[in-house]
């Protein structure tokens, strides 16, 4: 496309029409990949070409404007180039303004970070457009801070909005920050609250990062907000958006030479300084060696490797441990006892059984008296040891305490974790040499306290589903693993049913269906794992039926963490209950569940929920297929 601009008045509206029509038909890539580099070069220094370009885009009819603007925003290599190409289009054209400020930012979220950078950089480069930038930031913050948006919008969209906010913040200048400081502060407070309320760790982290960034911008002097969260690539990438790197231009040859010269100059300096330090160094040892000579070299030290810190001895009997933990003032002894308790419990099962409930009570209420490393883990391992040694009474005690008054959320979640860990231990056969997990079939469940466990459980169940699915499809037979009695069999019911019993009865300090939905989420995941571990036990059918009813009652819960847990429950039920029992005893529940799953796959805002629901549906299909192939 070549023009001869000297003195001629030409009309480019025809070209705009062509451009618009081509873009709207989806051929943006073809035409813009040729047009944009050309225009970039031409408009670099030539004002007239810039104006031509602006006229070009301005003349595109409104109905095709969106496609053209989107194409431009996506394909230009930088915000400054976009500024040259589009000019003040967003200010002059209403449709373009809508596309840029509303549609691309708030209604769509599939664009890359580069696109966001282009867009927001473009808005920031001109005085007229900066007003739009502020407006955009306000709207983004409003969305970010709205609790319903946080609850119901997909995590990907929330991440997109957070990125946009960070980029906007990076473009803001001091005077602008001054004017909207109060607004920023208010939205930051509200938004942080909604984000921290969420059960998904990713959302919480997004909230923390954005809040920290806003705080650092508005409080340039003085203390800034600082959260503690896991620093991984995603977090670092987000934080890097706060800092705007200067637009790098195509490197002309001159600066290269300069840089090379400087590098050459730098190297000799370094060498010189090295030489200097070398001459300085020999002087020192001489002085020191003089002093060394008249020390007592004739006294040869003996071997002192045995000289270590003294340790207090831990008690050797369980009852002594109980005494120390409940009454002793001797802090060293208390520490030694806590460290030694798990081993003692495992070595003395008979003695532990006599005092198991008392020990469980003490451990549940045990507070950290001194600062021991890994106290939480030590306490948990001791609790698991007690529970596995004497499952029934201790499980009875723990499950009853889960629904009792006046426990902290942390203690209730501890109960759940301990039950799961003990169940896992009881259900795994004591390996005789070979590990029970062969290859990728049944990966070990890493159940550590912390909100990450939800991811692990999901991952495990997913892998299990995947492996099972494959097995059904190919019909391969598996090598026999070494087997031994499943100790979880006799106690599965004791672990499971009391937990599921009282979930809908609120207490004054504990309301599962109300505020404490985080604990509900953990409870649901716990039930899923217990179900999964109960495969091949006698009680599994009854458990499955109860679990499916439980899931049915909670299926419309607003918290996505709880919903993910419910879907894991269904997976576990489908995997653990033998197929015949499933189809005979639970047909109605299955049908209801299936229709709910279909709903979730289509309409649930959370991507993980949709994926889990889909896997469940696939599992159900496979079960049906399997039954059809087996001759009845």
């Amino acid at each position: 496309v070549c023009f001869i601009p000297d003195g001629l008045d030409c009309s480019i509206s025809f070209v705009s029409h062509v451009l618009g029509k081509v873009c709207v038909h989806g051929r943006q890539k073809e035409i813009l990949s040729v047009l944009i580099p050309r225009l970039t070069d031409l408009t670099k220094s030539d004002c007239i070409w810039q104006r031509i370009c602006w006229r070009l885009v301005e003349c595109v009819p409104d109905r095709w404007m969106e496609a053209v603007v989107l194409g431009f925003v996506q394909r230009t290599p930088g915000a400054d180039v976009l500024s040259r190409l589009l000019g003040n289009l967003v200010v002059k054209n209403k449709k373009a303004q809508f596309v840029v400020t509303q549609k691309l930012l708030l209604l769509q979220y599939g664009h890359t970070t580069a696109v966001l950078q282009n867009l927001l950089g473009y808005l920031s480069l001109d005085g007229l457009r900066r007003a739009l930038l502020i407006k955009v930031l306000q709207e983004l913050l409003e969305t970010w801070g709205s609790s319903s948006a946080v609850k119901h919008s997909p995590p990907e969209q929330q991440q997109y909005i957070s990125k946009a906010i960070l980029i906007c913040l990076s473009h803001l200048k001091e005077p602008e920050i001054e004017t909207c400081r109060q607004e920023l502060l208010t939205s930051m407070m509200e938004g942080t609250k909604c984000h921290l309320d969420s059960n998904l760790p990713q959302i919480r982290r997004l909230g923390m990062i954005v809040a920290e960034s806003i705080s650092s911008k508005i409080n340039t002097d003085g203390p800034v907000l600082k959260f503690q969260y896991e620093e991984d690539d995603e977090a670092r990438e987000l934080k890097s958006l706060l800092v705007q790197s200067p637009p790098f231009c195509v490197v002309p040859s001159l600066p290269d030479d300069d840089r090379n010269e400087k590098a050459d100059a730098a190297v000799p300096l370094v060498l010189e300084s090295n030489k200097k330090s070398h001459t300085a160094a020999p002087v020192m040892p001489d002085e020191e060696s003089d002093a060394e000579l008249d020390s007592d070299d004739d006294l040869i030290p003996y071997d002192m490797s045995e000289d270590k810190e003294l340790k207090t001895k831990a008690p050797v009997y369980i009852r002594d441990c109980i005494e120390v933990l409940t009454g002793s003032e001797d802090v060293d002894k208390w520490e030694a006892t806590v460290k030694a308790l798990e081993g003692l419990v495992r070595k003395n099962p008979a003695a532990t059984r006599e005092v198991s409930v008392e020990l469980a009570k003490i451990l549940l209420h045990l507070e950290e008296k001194t600062c021991i490393e890994g106290f939480v883990e030590l306490r948990q391992r001791a609790q698991v040891a007690v529970l596995t040694t004497d499952p029934i009474p201790v499980a009875k005690y723990l499950t009853s305490q889960f629904y009792s008054l006046n426990y902290s959320l942390r203690q209730r979640m501890d109960i759940l974790d301990v039950l799961v860990l003990a169940a896992q231990e009881l259900s795994c056969p004591k390996s005789q040499g070979k590990t029970k997990h062969s290859g990728a079939q049944k990966p070990c469940i890493q159940l550590l306290p912390g909100s990450d466990s939800s991811k692990d459980w999901r991952r495990i169940v997913d892998e299990r589903i995947k492996s099972k699915t494959r097995r059904f499809a190919t019909g391969q037979s598996q090598a026999e693993l070494a087997s031994s009695p499943n100790e979880f069999n006799s106690v599965a019911g004791h672990f499971f049913f009391p937990l599921i019993q009282h979930f809908d009865r609120p207490l004054t300090t504990f309301d599962l269906l109300g505020e404490d939905h985080f604990v509900l989420g953990r409870l649901v995941h716990t039930l899923a794992v217990l179900m999964y571990l109960a495969v091949n036990t006698v009680a599994v059918t009854a458990m499955g039926k109860a679990l499916l009813e439980f899931v049915w009652a909670l299926r419309f819960h607003t918290d996505s963490y709880v919903r993910q847990g419910l879907l894991s429950c269904i997976s576990s039920t489908l995997l653990s209950v033998p197929t015949e029992r499933l189809l005979e005893d639970m047909t109605e529940e299955l049908l209801e569940t299936q229709s709910w799953l279909g709903d979730v796959v289509e309409k649930d805002p959370d991507g993980d929920c949709r994926r889990l629901a889909l896997q469940n549906l696939l599992l159900m299909e496979n079960l049906k297929k399997k039954l059809r192939t087996v001759p009845s």
Partner: protein, 328 residues
């Protein structure tokens, strides 16, 4: 390849109670036997024959109350012992006698060991914790006349005196006293004027024991914490911290420097005796024999260097005798 630490040369058993004080008297020639005096918690002072390793005599002068200090005054026939019965007894042990010739009533219920200094033939100065809360009293023995009472200034809050050492540069100069207190400071006192010359805070916890090397004007103190503090005395009679050394386990009951000033020994609450080189405080050995707190350590005064011994008394009722670095 470092050698493992040596075992005790022999172990003296039979005290029947925790050993709190030890003192050698081995300087005499043959046919005198080398002797070790030990003071125990049951109030007995045992006189050990280091040739036969048996108790030659048992002295009972403190009414069953713990003896926490034993010193000889010019030879093995004159003994001074301090007990928890608030008495300091002077014994005459010549020719087989075992009698208390004199005693001083200290009116002090603390644990501070007294210290002796010979100022002239037959005349001694003794410093001990006195009746008043932070006071140290210096008496002349055997006349028992009070030379001075050293009181810290009001508001100094030094606490109880924990350990004392009297010394003088040479026979003509005036005697000085180093005192370690409960608040962790070491104070240098001038006895003539009864004034403190210098005060140095060496520790965060009470100073349990100290020892001083005249020739180098350097001293060392141990406390209930994990740090040994070495301090020096400059020409202006000011104490300055020279160095500190961190220990593996907290708590030192006793420190003593060997008469030849080459090594020093510390008695630890962690049941171990540690040997250090005195010049640079280089750790030399850790002697791990006892099964309870070591209360006291003492070096012998053998004329023949190769016969020198180290004795350690512990709460486990045993006294271990070691021959270590005797060749140097």
């Amino acid at each position: 390849m470092a050698l493992p630490p040596p075992d005790p040369q022999f172990v003296l058993r039979g005290t029947g109670a925790a050993v709190h004080a030890l003192h050698f008297s081995c300087g005499n020639q043959e046919p005198d036997v080398p002797i070790l005096f030990s003071g125990s918690e049951n109030g007995f002072i045992h006189v050990w024959n280091l040739k036969t390793h048996r108790v030659d005599k048992t002295l009972d002068g403190h009414g069953g109350r713990s003896v926490y200090c034993v010193e000889t005054m010019g030879g093995k026939n004159r003994l001074l012992s301090q007990g928890r019965d608030q008495r300091i007894c002077l014994w005459d042990l010549a020719e087989g006698r075992t009698s208390v010739t004199n005693s001083v009533f200290t009116e002090n219920v603390g644990f501070c060991r007294c210290t002796l200094l010979k100022v002239a033939q037959g005349r001694w100065l003794m410093a001990m914790a006195a009746k008043g809360p932070e006071e140290v009293q210096v008496l002349e023995l055997p006349s028992k006349t009070s030379v001075c009472t050293l009181k810290p200034e009001v508001g100094a809050k030094l606490g109880m005196p924990m350990c004392l050492k009297l010394w003088q540069h040479n026979c003509d100069s005036q005697p000085l006293l180093l005192a370690g207190y409960e608040d962790g400071s070491v104070v240098l006192w001038n006895l003539l004027m009864g004034k403190a010359l210098s005060q140095l805070v060496c520790h965060q916890e009470p100073v349990m024991s100290l020892d001083f090397d005249l020739e180098k004007a350097k001293g060392i103190s141990g406390s209930s914490e994990k740090v040994l503090s070495i301090w020096s005395l400059n020409e202006q009679q000011n104490l300055q911290v020279y160095k500190t050394h961190k220990l593996v386990n907290a708590g030192i009951s006793d420190i003593t420097i060997r008469p030849d000033k080459k090594i020093l020994a510390t008695a630890g609450w962690d049941h171990r005796i540690r040997i250090f080189g005195w010049k640079k405080l280089k750790p030399l050995a850790v002697l791990d024999y006892h099964t309870a707190t070591v209360h006291c350590v003492s070096f012998s005064d053998h004329r023949n260097p190769s016969e020198r011994l180290l004795a350690a008394g512990s709460k486990d009722h045993r006294i271990s005798i070691w021959s270590i670095y005797a060749q140097t």
